[in-house]
């Protein structure tokens, strides 16, 4: 038995078909989190290069690169930066979203623990590009070592004048501060995060008018980007925006770090060129396929709030390019647009595989328990609806299913989405809406199962 704890376990068996840019060094056995190691490997060269450019030029490179946000919504970073209100005269803030709280996601953890200076370099380039007065990293409480590593790395970088006052003699000053969350998922939502950073409850703000780019932290223009997004900025400066855009597919540029978990033989994180591989490749080739004797039941393609896919279903339609497609789950391209065309989303890049050993109703009950726990409580549909959906599905899983539950669940889901302050409303409604629609037979069947047996079952997820 090997019961050990690791602060950052290295993956020493990198799949040869991975295309590692962000995680290029992270898993090397001889690579550590110190600034000396980072500098030996070309670290901070891109910051020096960027500081010799004009801020607008950097913004243009990021726009040309077409890099889309890696945190969930997939919005192009360069475009977001363009929306910054620069006329207000108020200070501009940059925030790195290191809350990594979407169930299934564990990619930012790798960067933070194994290559913290890459994030700092990406952030300082980004801060200079948007002329931020100060920058923050909002890291979830459950990564205590991550916070410590980042704080130490920041002090190392400060000692070398890579951040702080008059950075590299440029006349530009910007401090970087680590802020720790306290175990609330909603702090991942950018306006909730901002409230939390102001020392308040993480109650998301309504958009409009509170788009962070205009009215963000302290009602000042603010950019919030994910850890992986900000790391990409360093590589965009290194390659040039147009060269970066050659990686991946148009509109889906660069690589992505996929977090694969659930019922696969080799769960883990895989950095892959966008649009080159499929969900089938991820599950079967990188993930080693399902366990012996098991059949695929469902795939959640982008974090637990993404709409579920049922094994065997087919997706048909027309791509933006006009090309027609007819895909099985296994054929869906691993990028931003693929899962979207297949009625779901790539979200945070978290793929959860579910085999036939578990009850799909109970899977939904488990997901619903998460959202019911994490609703901030401001909006009635989200607060009450998420709780009802949890209660109904838990009762169903425990042997108390009624015939009318299926329709009731669908109607609750339909009445949340689109009626709330933040996208947690959609995040909690989509699982129920999609599970009930796609597995209707299984949900209806539940009322016919023996309650006695269900209540005595050995394996539980609620």
């Amino acid at each position: 038995m090997s019961l050990e704890t690791h602060i950052a376990r290295k993956n020493l068996a990198i799949h040869p078909k991975e295309r590692r840019i962000i995680l290029k060094h992270a898993d090397r056995p001889d690579y550590d989190a110190s600034i000396d190691c980072y500098l030996r490997n070309g670290g901070y060269d891109q910051q020096k290069k960027a500081f010799s450019m004009k801020p607008e030029e950097i913004c243009q490179e990021v726009l040309d690169a077409g890099v889309r946000g890696r945190g969930g919504a997939g919005f192009p970073a360069g475009m977001k930066w363009k929306f910054l209100d620069r006329k207000s005269g108020k200070p501009i803030y940059l925030i790195c979203n290191a809350d990594e709280s979407e169930p299934g996601t564990f990619k930012d953890r790798q960067i933070i623990h194994k290559d913290p200076h890459q994030l700092i370099e990406g952030m300082m380039i980004s801060a200079f590009a948007i002329q931020a007065a100060q920058a923050f990293i909002y890291i979830r409480e459950e990564m205590p070592y991550g916070a410590k590593i980042l704080e130490e790395a920041i002090e190392e970088a400060r000692a070398k004048n890579l951040l702080g006052d008059n950075i590299l003699g440029s006349g530009y000053s910007c401090d970087l501060v680590v802020h720790r969350g306290a175990a609330a998922y909603i702090c991942g939502e950018e306006t909730g995060l901002i409230e939390s950073l102001e020392g308040k409850r993480a109650y998301p703000r309504i958009k409009p008018p509170y788009f962070p780019a205009a009215l963000g932290l302290y009602m000042c223009p603010t950019i919030v980007n994910n850890v992986e997004t900000l790391c990409n900025v360093k590589h965009i400066i290194e390659m040039g925006g147009h060269a970066y855009a050659e990686i991946g597919k148009p509109g889906n540029t660069g690589t992505r770090i996929w977090s694969l978990s659930g019922h696969v033989r080799k769960p883990g994180y895989y950095e892959l060129e966008n649009g080159v591989h499929t969900y089938g490749d991820l599950i079967n080739e990188f993930g080693g396929g399902l366990r012996d004797g098991r059949q695929l039941q469902a795939v959640i393609p982008g974090g637990s709030s993404a709409k579920v896919w049922r094994a065997g279903e087919r997706f048909k339609g027309k791509l933006r390019s006009g090309e027609e497609f007819d895909w099985a789950i296994e054929d869906v391209p691993l990028d931003f647009d693929g899962p979207m065309a297949a009625g779901s989303m790539s979200g945070s890049g978290a793929v959860v595989v579910i085999d036939d050993s578990v009850d799909i109703v109970e899977v939904l009950a488990n997901i619903n328990a998460f959202y019911a726990h994490e609703s901030c409580g401001q909006c009635t549909p989200c607060r009450e609806g998420s709780l009802w959906m949890k209660k109904i599905t838990t009762r169903m899983a425990n042997g108390g299913a009624r015939e009318e539950d299926t329709a009731l669940l669908a109607s609750i889901g339909d009445q949340i989405a689109g009626r709330t302050i933040c996208a947690h409303g959609e995040a909690c409604a989509w699982p129920t809406q999609s599970f009930v629609a796609k597995f209707q037979d299984k949900f209806l069947d539940k009322a016919k199962q023996d309650p006695e047996q269900l209540s005595k079952r050995d394996f539980r997820m609620v």
Binding site: L3, A183, M461
Partner: protein, 162 residues
Amino acid sequence: MAFELSQETLDTIDKVIPRYPQRQSALMMILHAIQKEQGYLSLEAQEWVAERLEIAPIKVREVVTFYPFYREKPVGKHYIRVCRTLSCALNGSYKICDRLCQELDTKPGEISPDGKATVEFAECLASCGTAPVVMVDDDMYENLTEDDIVELARRIREEEIK
């Protein structure tokens, strides 16, 4: 007894406040520092923080009661979090939690009779690729089997984990 904090915690607090453009922003980091020292956030602690930051005590209480990590009551010597979210649940986390509670003779959310642990369910700990996972204070234990849990509980009972 008057409310007191160690010099180390006071130093941490003095260090974090000026990092932010506005004082109230330091609230969460201050609460972290105090909870780390005292194990929980008493009403006296909350009032002390309010005074230190020159904000109304209710603003502190609002925050303490919103975030799951802040607590107003003590916990056992070790704070143990079993992830219950999807990827861990698919890999048996409910059984892991039952077994851990059984081994430590406790129930989720309660302090074990020997005072050595409080076991709680937590939501996704961002380590789903090594599910099921358990955090003991700051440390993450991964890919746990029931045998591992028996061993982990032994180490906690016998104070092999500090």
